[in-house]
């Protein structure tokens, strides 16, 4: 039955070559920790993606309870932390996961840098990687405000003032970020929208490019 269903789809769409291409591509010995333990440095990119996946999933669950308005945001986070079944764990995953993504991504970047893997023909993939780094920092900045506690509010206040100190365009950037003269209701909805819609869209596109290029070009050879 399962095989018949698969064959029916395969006949129409020809999916077998696509997934066999992904499945059969060779993993070279020098990046395989099963071959040489020191190759674990090549795992950092994959682990970053693993944690990004857990971030997306835990974020989706948090969004079931989180309310992005200044009256309820704090209370909804408190409710998630104290009342919701496993809420403390899911929030913990998202909170600590944020730091872990940064750490793993940074280690991955250092691996690529020190092994010179950004060299021709992989320049574009390096550039996309740096852009992913920026997007992830954006996630960190916007996500920090969402619990709407003292730490969040004042850190964002500082961030907004730093943006405002940029010559010429600074004040406009601040208004764009904050949504008005003062940090308030509009800032929270804005950061929420950036955190859950704009940045994830950008991240998925960039990750898609990143993976497409690594498949196309293959991983860099041994040193």
């Amino acid at each position: 039955m399962l095989k018949k269903t698969y064959d029916w789809i395969d006949e129409r769409l020809g999916v077998t070559p696509i997934w066999r291409d992904i499945a059969d591509h060779e993993v070279p010995a020098h990046v395989n920790p099963a071959n040489k333990m020191s190759a674990f440095i090549y795992c950092f990119g994959g682990l970053t993606f693993l944690i990004i996946t857990t971030q997306i999933i835990s974020g989706m669950f948090l969004a079931m309870y989180y309310v992005p308005d200044i009256v309820n945001a704090y209370n909804s986070v408190k409710y998630i932390t104290d009342e919701v079944l496993l809420g403390q764990i899911v929030r913990g995953m998202h909170f600590w996961g944020a730091s872990l993504v940064i750490i793993m991504m940074f280690l991955h970047m250092l691996r690529v840098f020190f092994t010179g893997s950004y060299k021709a023909p992989r320049e574009l993939n390096w550039v996309v990687g740096v852009l992913i780094f920026m997007v992830v920092m954006g996630f960190g900045f916007t996500g920090y405000l969402l619990p709407w506690d003292q730490k969040a509010y004042w850190a964002t206040q500082v961030g907004a003032n730093i943006a405002a100190s940029v010559p010429v365009v600074g004040p406009y950037i601040r208004i764009l970020l904050v949504g008005g003269a003062d940090l308030g209701a509009l800032t929270l909805t804005r950061f929420f929208a950036i955190h859950v819609f704009f940045l994830p869209a950008a991240l998925l596109v960039l990750l898609g490019l990143h993976f497409f290029m690594i498949r196309k070009q293959g991983i860099s050879g041994p040193l």
């Binding site: 591509h25 913990g92 600590w96 730091s99 020190f114 021709a120 320049e123 004042w154």
Partner: protein, 249 residues
């Protein structure tokens, strides 16, 4: 190499899989061979991550108060190096620290493949990029460390004020209850002898929000910065019941 005729195909193996004989020098297919091993690494990593989360519960600070300008702001740790950088830039040229230095750093990072164009990839054979990166790492680590030290110092100088109790009536209910005695021995250092709060929150009027059973649970399990099991055995129940009576308005 083996002869890859159809006779050698193992029954049930999909058509496109390469015969075993083709493998050379430790290379292996991504799926399932490599992915299964990688998944083991991933699982160990995830278990360690979950353990970390279980032992480091996230707490929530007081709700944002735009009036409270005494709060010492601090960004998340991965922004500290940028934040600290600004402290060394004089006010008139603050754009040096906000635009020029970070902008240059990002531009350099983006353009690395076109700056370091040599064919060699080994880090020790291209000392300038390697050295530059190591120096930047040391600089960032130092900035982060300094920022953290200075923040700790600022906190020590200006400890956050304990929140004033929100209740008007500060009279303690049943001050001679056995629970009150246990409280003054075990809890008062953090929550204040008169329940007004010190390091921990004020407990005046706690009986309005929580039932004794809930208080008991918080004592046994801990909450936020409060470690579990400060009060043990029967005493827990006594303290919890006494705290449940604190229904000041």
């Amino acid at each position: 190499m083996a002869d890859h005729s159809n006779k050698e195909r193992i029954p049930g193996v999909p058509r496109y899989r390469k015969p075993k004989g083709l493998k050379i020098d430790g290379t292996e297919p991504f799926f399932p061979n490599f992915l299964l091993k990688e998944w083991i690494v991933g699982s160990v990593f995830l278990v360690a991550f979950i353990m970390w989360i279980l032992f480091n519960p996230v707490d929530l600070e007081a709700v944002a108060d735009p009036q409270d300008t005494s709060f010492i702001p601090v960004p998340d740790w991965y922004f500290l190096f940028l934040y600290q950088l600004l402290k060394y830039v004089p006010g008139q040229v603050v754009w040096l620290g906000t635009v020029v230095v970070p902008g240059l750093a990002v531009a350099l990072l983006l353009l690395v493949p076109w700056i370091d164009r040599s064919k060699t990839r080994h880090p020790f054979k291209r000392l300038i990029p390697t050295g530059a990166m190591i120096l930047s790492l040391i600089f960032m680590a130092w900035l982060t460390y300094e920022a953290d030290e200075q923040h700790k110092h600022a906190l020590a100088k200006n400890p956050p004020k304990p929140k004033a109790p929100a209740v008007k009536d500060t009279a303690i209910v049943a001050p001679s209850d056995p629970g009150a005695k246990i409280f003054s021995q075990s809890c008062a250092t953090c929550h204040g002898a008169e329940l007004k709060g010190q390091v921990g929150p004020s407990l005046l009027g706690v009986g309005n929000k929580l039932k004794p059973e809930q208080i008991e649970e918080i004592i046994t399990k801990g909450r936020g910065a409060m470690p579990p099991g400060i009060v043990q055995g029967d005493d827990t129940k006594k303290v919890a019941e006494w705290l449940g009576k604190q229904q000041q308005k």
